[in-house]
């Protein structure tokens, strides 16, 4: 069993140098212009809130919404943690974009055969035993790569060691069932653009609730409809039969009276 990988982002340590984005763009061969908003050419960006920098990127959810909603299974969750996209399967319905609770997937709107783009958690580097390019490039240790369980423990330890500095919350621990990107901060998360009222249950459970009823609907519905047809049809048949018999009786009675 491969240990689930994760990244711990300590917002208090980030100085906003943007080395993560530069390294990311180099690793993925993207245009090297500096970007502030996630795009098909920027898998990670820094958002600034009064001098505090927050890294935005794919959260690589433990039970990812995008993986569940894709009709053709173009998204997969790998054992190590990365959520990956396969453009050769994608039909371009954009349900992943509509459904992602973190609004991460970006679309190549200017391409006439577009792809969805997002952070790949440097899956190919992870396979080689390397850490993601952004974590390697981070000069302050604001982004730290490791096993998810270890990083969760470390996050709690850091908060415990300096409770007056940190907000007592590890973001990503239980949001939509947990994510691979964990954040700790000295500023309340809702002031940094985080969605803090996300459900604790993985979102795929909501649609599965409806999908799992399909067999019942088909079985009960099928029997019900066939039963209704059988009864109504039989009733019509009996009525027709009775009418016919009555007609025959009338006719034979008529014959008897006319031929005594």
């Amino acid at each position: 069993m491969i240990a689930k990988k994760a990244m711990l982002i300590d917002i208090t340590l980030c100085v906003g140098c943007n080395a993560c984005q530069v390294a990311c763009k180099e690793e993925n061969g993207l245009s090297d212009k500096e970007e502030q908003i996630l795009s098909p050419t920027a898998y990670t960006v820094l958002h600034e809130f009064n001098g505090t920098y927050v890294r935005r990127m794919c959260q690589h959810c433990v039970d990812p919404t995008c993986v569940s909603v894709c009709p053709v299974g173009a998204f997969t969750k790998t054992a190590a943690g990365p959520v990956l996209y396969d453009e050769s399967k994608c039909i371009g319905c954009r349900y992943c974009m509509q459904a992602c609770p973190f609004q991460v997937p970006r679309y190549e709107w200017d391409n006439n055969y577009p792809r969805v783009q997002k952070c790949k958690f440097c899956a190919s580097r992870l396979e080689k035993g390397l850490q993601p390019a952004c974590a390697e490039a981070c000069p302050t240790g604001a982004t730290k790569f490791g096993d998810r369980d270890d990083l969760i423990r470390e996050a709690h330890e850091r908060i415990k060691a300096e409770p007056e500095k940190y907000v007592n919350k590890v973001y990503g621990l239980e949001e939509v069932g947990g994510t691979s990107i964990l954040y700790i901060s000295s500023v309340p998360f809702e002031e940094l653009g985080f969605k803090t009222n996300l459900s604790k249950v993985p979102l795929p459970a909501l649609t599965w609730n409806a999908l799992s009823k399909i067999p019942t609907v088909v079985a009960v519905g099928g029997v019900f409809l066939y039963g209704v047809w059988w009864i109504t049809n039989r009733r019509t048949e009996v009525q027709q039969l009775e009418a016919k018999l009555k007609e025959m009786d009338d006719r034979s009675n008529g014959h008897e009276t006319s031929n005594p």
Binding site: L38, I91, G92, Y95, L206, L211, Q240, L245
Partner: protein, 393 residues
């Protein structure tokens, strides 16, 4: 005469104009991409083409399964005269939904992937399969009309034999499909505005689809009666309107229970953009037609019936647009209005639907229905029954 001529040319000119704009938009869409032709963005990945062409379009086609179930399963044979137009609408509707999908999908050439690349956890996967299977069922259900035209009696007999299973499969697929379009939005509890997000979305989509299916049958009967100068089956249509009213009643009561359960009643009175559009949808599509059509004097009156049915259709469209677009604007933090090219494509598809319907009515036996034929697959046994019973006596 002159008046009629000018009227025809006006409609033809309008249709021509729309098709020309649609054709140009088609070119831009497939050559330059979705970015150049639409107002879609990463914040608003689904717009008019999903909201109207697919989500609304499938709903408007619901008359097909509703009427087929009423006549063939519940054996209410007096509704028979309107089954064919209902099936035709459904078949055209689904065909146009697929056409609309080809515009909206980013990679339309890979649409067939859903056949071999399965993800049963995805509602969209269920939607894809329902579209494929139900369109096939509709083609089969509609085929006798075309076969009659060419007098292929043997094939007709074959299809008639499987009518009942076909209708039952069609009703099941429609039930799954109409409700699954609501399930699509279950995944977005934080994004879709509270007046519309509900764990009952699949149920609401299903019930409202039956109501609008009934209304569509009435509306298209009126329109084709006007266009082709034929009589109206007022008594039948008035009864179909009653079914619609009952469905609206069920919808309204569950919607109320839902708002109470989610403690969302307060949202009904917040001075917000969403509130106004919600009330618009409810007044036009639910309260208005319910009050109107529940009264016999309006229901059995020519104009009253048409107005009531049209209100249900318009209210339904507003509801689906609210769920697919309005309800997401608050979360996205920005508005969305379709580009003229999106509108041109959607209008072209609608006009195309009207033209196809008119042509079908003109050249195929849609309203001029053949004498009711015995649908019972037990036709031969029936004669045997008769013999046995008469011998016993």
């Amino acid at each position: 005469m002159k008046q009629i001529l000018s009227k025809i040319t006006f409609w033809k000119a309008t249709a021509g104009l729309i098709f020309t704009a649609g054709l140009y938009a088609t070119y831009v869409r497939f050559v330059d991409g979705l970015g150049a032709s639409t107002n879609l963005s990463d914040d608003f990945p689904w717009g008019l083409w999903v909201g109207f062409d697919v989500i609304t379009g499938v709903g408007l086609a619901a008359g097909g399964f509703t009427l087929a179930a009423m006549v063939h399963v519940f054996n209410l044979k007096r509704f028979e005269p309107v089954v064919r137009p209902a099936i035709l609408t459904a078949f055209l509707g689904y065909t146009l939904v697929i056409l609309g999908l080809m515009y909206d999908l980013g990679r339309p050439l890979q649409i067939w992937h859903a056949i071999i690349m399965w993800n049963p956890r995805s509602v969209m996967f269920e939607v894809a399969w329902c579209v494929m299977l139900y369109t096939t069922v509709l083609a089969l259900e509609f085929s006798p009309v075309v076969l009659e035209k060419f007098k292929l009696t043997k094939t007709i007999k074959l299809i008639k034999k499987i009518t009942i299973p076909l209708v039952i499969v069609g009703v099941l697929l429609s039930t799954l499909h109409q409700s699954s379009l609501g399930s699509v939005y279950l995944i977005a509890p934080d994004k879709l505005y509270g007046l519309w997000y509900s764990p009952y979305l699949p149920f609401f989509f299903y019930i409202s689809a039956i109501a609008v299916g009934c209304a569509m049958v009435i509306v298209e009967s009126f329109l084709s009666a006007r266009a082709f100068h034929r009589g109206l089956e007022m008594d039948i249509l008035a009864d179909i309107a009653r079914v619609g009213v009952v469905m609206l009643g069920v919808y309204l009561s569950f919607k109320t229970v839902d708002l109470i359960e989610r403690k969302a009643l307060g949202l009904l009175f917040l001075p917000r953009y969403e509130t106004y559009l919600y009330w618009l949808e409810m007044v036009v599509g639910v309260f208005g037609p319910m009050i109107l059509l529940a009264q016999r004097k309006f229901r059995e009156n020519h104009n009253g019936l048409f107005a009531g049915a049209l209100m249900i259709v318009v209210g339904f469209i507003i509801n689906r647009m609210n769920i697919s677009i309005t309800g997401f604007e608050g979360w996205a933090g920005k508005g969305y209005f379709p580009s003229w090219m999106e509108l041109a494509v959607t209008l072209s598809i609608v006009v195309f639907g009207f033209v196809a319907f008119a042509l079908a009515v003109k050249y195929l036996p849609i309203f001029t229905h053949a004498e009711h034929e015995e649908l019972s697959p037990r036709g031969d046994e029936w004669a045997k029954d008769l013999q046995t019973v008469s011998q016993l006596r």
